[in-house]
Each structure stands twice: as structure tokens, then as C-alpha cells.
Subunit: 263 residues, 2 copies
DNA sequence: CGCTTCGTTGACGTCTATCAATTCATGTGG
DNA sequence: CCACATGAATTGATAGACGTCAACGAAGCG
């Protein structure tokens, strides 16, 4: 369909490589995925709640969110997806989504048929393993969000979300953790933090007054990272950076990794 | 180590079989896992937060919980594990836990070395696939908990937890969804619902007054299931019952399932 | 019998939601 | 260049849900 790999695929590959080593051939196989790119405006639903889908969504540019929808129409964002994230690798296993996916900012999204992904996982065990790790990271983030929503107040919740996205953007090579653009509205931030937009607004003002963050438009500057992380009780271990994976079981090498992680 | 398979392994196998078909040989391989059973009292930590582990925990009897711990010692339970649940299949991929695991009631737990599980996944692709599905179910439940904590009030949150555990116990063949023993304290329920024990107590009284639940000790009776599910906005789709898996991609059969799911 | 754990109750304080306006930024068309 | 529309950020006043603290009762257990 496309002779040159889309830059979104390169970002996705980089993300996989950040936790799993893949051979040249395996890397080429990922880059060779056939996909249908699409430019989407903000606040557009990519997957409706309850819909059965046959493709996964890869965010190439912008930011998207998975959400749970209540009867009264309120939404709870359960995950943010930045450039390079595959929104719903789960859908390969469970094609009928209990959730929805929607763009938050304007975005470029690649639609990849499930069959392409399953074929890939089948042909290359190392890729299947990388996919499994990706799903595990997703679960780890969700567990942390449960803790964040259940046991932290508004100030800590928002600080935690800001810390997480900063670190994730830095890991993805999109920005510095202390200076990045969080291209979502306060209302969307509220839907992620389990708060109202009004209260998010006041809490952000509090964080600014404390000197923990500065904002210019949707750009966020964090002067004192340690202080913000302290306020958020943020510990990046749950994001499973490479060192948290190292020292793992033999599966990594035996099931298809071509080379061990550098030490 | 043990000539006869432990009944906990049988429960675990049944759980896997509820979503993935396995051949006789594969089933025997699961039952042949070597494990160290241990009887543990209530409120005992099986895995401390931040600990690096080399084994997974399988709950054979009783109920355990994964939790996130705050600086001040408060805990947020992020997942319940009933008999037949493998607590931390994730730990195979990420052996340094960002979370902790603790018994809630008294329990019998089997400790299974990671190596056993990785060997199994390596030898039998269908088992690897079943593990992947298990991790996906876990993630789906976590996402629903985020929605429950972020956008529902105390009454709906507690009702939702009760509904979920009822359905899961019924699926596991442990009880009826309308009549089961929820062997945890109100304080533990509060740690899962993101509330205080006092407020849980009052909310439970409210649910009893409304006639939505009846309790005798820790046994719960649900007279009108529909009404409770309505109050909780509970839809079991997120638990990925077998029918949500059917109609999935070809991976199931191509990657090792011996027979298609009965229809 | 005393000890411990758990469930229950009351009074009070605080965090967050709700509702409604107002300001600000941006873009569009005349 | 201005009038206007639109979406987002901000502000104020008030209400409600939930937390906190403290005490008491019930049940199991050595």
C-alpha cells in the first residue's frame, strides 16, 4: 500500500525497542506493516464503546485517549496514548471493546488490521513477546492510576498525571520531562483525574502558585522536578523503564530475542 | 516435588480453559507445574512493594489482593484475586514489582518459579497465548476500576465491586453470583473502593436498606441482581467472558489452539 | 475472663461538585 | 480593521459527599 514506512511505524518500533531487542529482520517486519493513515480532528471517536473492531489504532502524531463511558454520558479517561503508542493491542485478543478510544488533540492515526499484527506475532516470537510486554506496561500504568484516583487528592492526582506524561514523552524522544506540550483541555484533564473541569482549573492555579509548574498556553515547564514528583508521590518504576526489565527471566532470550540487553 | 497435581493448579487450568482451548497434553503440562503450597493467615504480605521476585503466586483458596502503597502507609487495592487466579503473571515480564500482594482472608497460596512458567510458555505456544489473554483480562478489569473510582459515587462503587466478584466467583465455579461469601473486612473493601471504612459501613447500610443486598456475616445475598447491576452500572463485558473472545482473529487457532471453541 | 478484631454510630470539618457568569483567545466573515 | 461566534480558561457562591476523630458494642479466641 505504501512503499515507505510511515514515520508512525518508526515511533512504534522505537517504543518496542526501548524494552525488547529485535533483530534487523524483525525490525523490518514491523516497519513493513501495511496501514491506513488518517488525519483526525480533536474530540473524534476512533472506537465507540462496545464496538467490535478488526483493526488497531496507532497514534502517529498528537494524543488520544481510551475512555470508559457512564450512562449519563460522563467519561473517564483510562489511558493516554502519545505518538508511537498502539492504542489497543488488547483488541487483538478481545476484539469487542468494552471501552472507547477518542482523539484528544488533533492527531494522525494509523489503522492496522488485526490480521497484520497476528501474522507478525506468529512469524516472529520475539515480536509476540514485545507485544506482551507492551500490554503488561499498559496494565502497570492502569494499576497506578487506580492508586492515584483512589488514594490521592486533586493536587497529587494532577501532579502525577503531569509527571507520567513528561516521563513518557521523554522516553519516546518527543520532549524533555521538564518541558513539554500537554495538548489537552482542562476538561480532558479532569476526565482523566476523575475531577470536574472547574476543580482542575483551581488545582492548576494552586500548583502554579506553589511554583511547581509554569504554563504558557498548553506548554508546561517544570522548574523543580523533584518537588513535583514529591507532591505526586511519583515513582517512575511502574512505567517499566528498561532497567526494570533487565535481570528478567530467560524467556527474553530463549523465546526469540536476538541479543541480550546491553549492560 | 508433588506426585499429584494440587487442586489449585486445577482451578488455574479451569480458568485458562474458560477462555482458551488447550489440548490434553497442554493441560497435563499445566497440571504438572511444580509448586510450593503454603497456608497463610489473613493480612500477610506475599510480595512487598518494590521487591524483586522469582516466583508467581497462585491463589488456591481464599482471597488475596494486589495493592499500591502511599507514603503515609495508606493502601489502595488494585485487584482482587480469588481461587484459581495467578496473582502476578506480569512479574514474569517485570520481575521488580511496583506493587505489593497480600492475603486478605486466610488463604492457601502456591508459589511457582518464573522459570517453570517461561518454560511452559516456550514449549507450548497455546499456553503462552492463554497467559497473554489472562494478562489482558487483568488490564481490562483495571481499566474498569479506573472508571469506577473516577466517575462513580460510593454507592455505585461498592455495588460494582460486589457485582464483579459475584460474577467472577460464579465463573470460577465457586458460588452463585447472587449468593457468595465475600471474605474481606469492610476496611479492605474501603481500600479497594478508595473510601474510608466508616463510609463503606454507612454505604453498605444504605444498600441493605434499599433491599439491594442482604448480609449474614460475610455472606452476601443479592435478591434482585438486575437492580444491583443497575445501581452499579455493571456490564460484565469487561470481564471478557468466552463469547467476547469468540469471533476473534485467527491467532487463536494458528498460534496453537488445538480446537476451536464450541458454539 | 480479658484481649483483639471488626462492625457500628455520632458530631463535625473539608474537599470537591454544581451552577452560573465572566473573561480571554482565536478565528471568520463582512 | 472591526463585529461576531466559538471554545476554553477563570471566577464566585453554595451545596453535598465523604473524611476524620472518637467512642461503643459484638463476636471470636486463648
Amino acid at each position: 500500500m505504501h512503499s515507505l514506512p510511515h514515520s508512525g511505524l518508526q515511533r512504534f518500533l522505537d517504543r518496542l525497542l526501548s524494552r525488547t531487542s529485535l533483530s534487523y529482520q524483525e525490525q523490518q517486519a514491523v516497519l513493513g506493516l501495511h496501514c491506513r493513515p488518517e488525519t483526525v480532528g480533536p474530540r473524534q471517536d476512533l472506537v465507540a464503546p462496545g464496538e467490535t473492531i478488526s483493526h488497531a489504532c496507532l497514534v502517529a502524531k498528537g494524543i488520544a485517549g481510551r475512555f470508559d463511558q457512564m450512562r449519563n454520558g460522563q467519561r473517564q479517561i483510562t489511558a493516554f496514548h502519545i505518538a508511537g503508542d498502539m492504542c489497543d493491542l488488547h483488541s487483538v485478543v478481545a476484539p469487542t471493546a468494552a471501552w472507547g478510544i477518542s482523539t484528544l488533540s488533533g492527531a494522525t492515526v494509523l489503522f492496522i488490521p488485526h490480521k497484520q499484527l497476528t501474522d507478525l506475532a506468529q512469524a516472529y516470537p520475539a515480536i509476540a513477546f514485545a507485544f506482551w510486554r507492551d500490554v503488561t506496561v499498559d496494565g502497570s500504568i492502569l494499576a497506578k492510576w487506580v492508586g492515584n484516583l483512589g488514594r490521592q487528592d486533586a493536587r497529587a492526582r494532577i501532579a502525577h498525571i503531569i509527571c507520567e506524561l513528561g516521563v513518557r514523552m521523554e522516553s519516546a524522544g518527543l520532549a524533555l520531562r521538564t518541558s513539554f506540550s500537554l495538548d489537552i483541555t482542562q476538561e480532558q484533564l479532569a476526565d482523566a483525574a476523575g475531577l470536574t473541569a472547574v476543580h482542575v482549573n483551581r488545582t492548576l492555579q494552586g500548583l502554579r502558585c506553589e511554583g511547581l509548574i509554569e504554563t504558557r498556553g498548553r506548554a508546561i515547564e517544570i522548574g523543580d522536578w523533584e518537588a513535583l514528583a514529591e507532591a505526586a508521590e511519583f515513582d517512575p518504576a511502574y512505567l517499566l523503564p528498561r532497567q526494570a526489565i533487565r535481570g528478567g527471566p530467560a524467556l527474553a532470550t530463549t523465546i526469540g530475542e536476538q541479543q541480550t540487553v546491553a549492560h
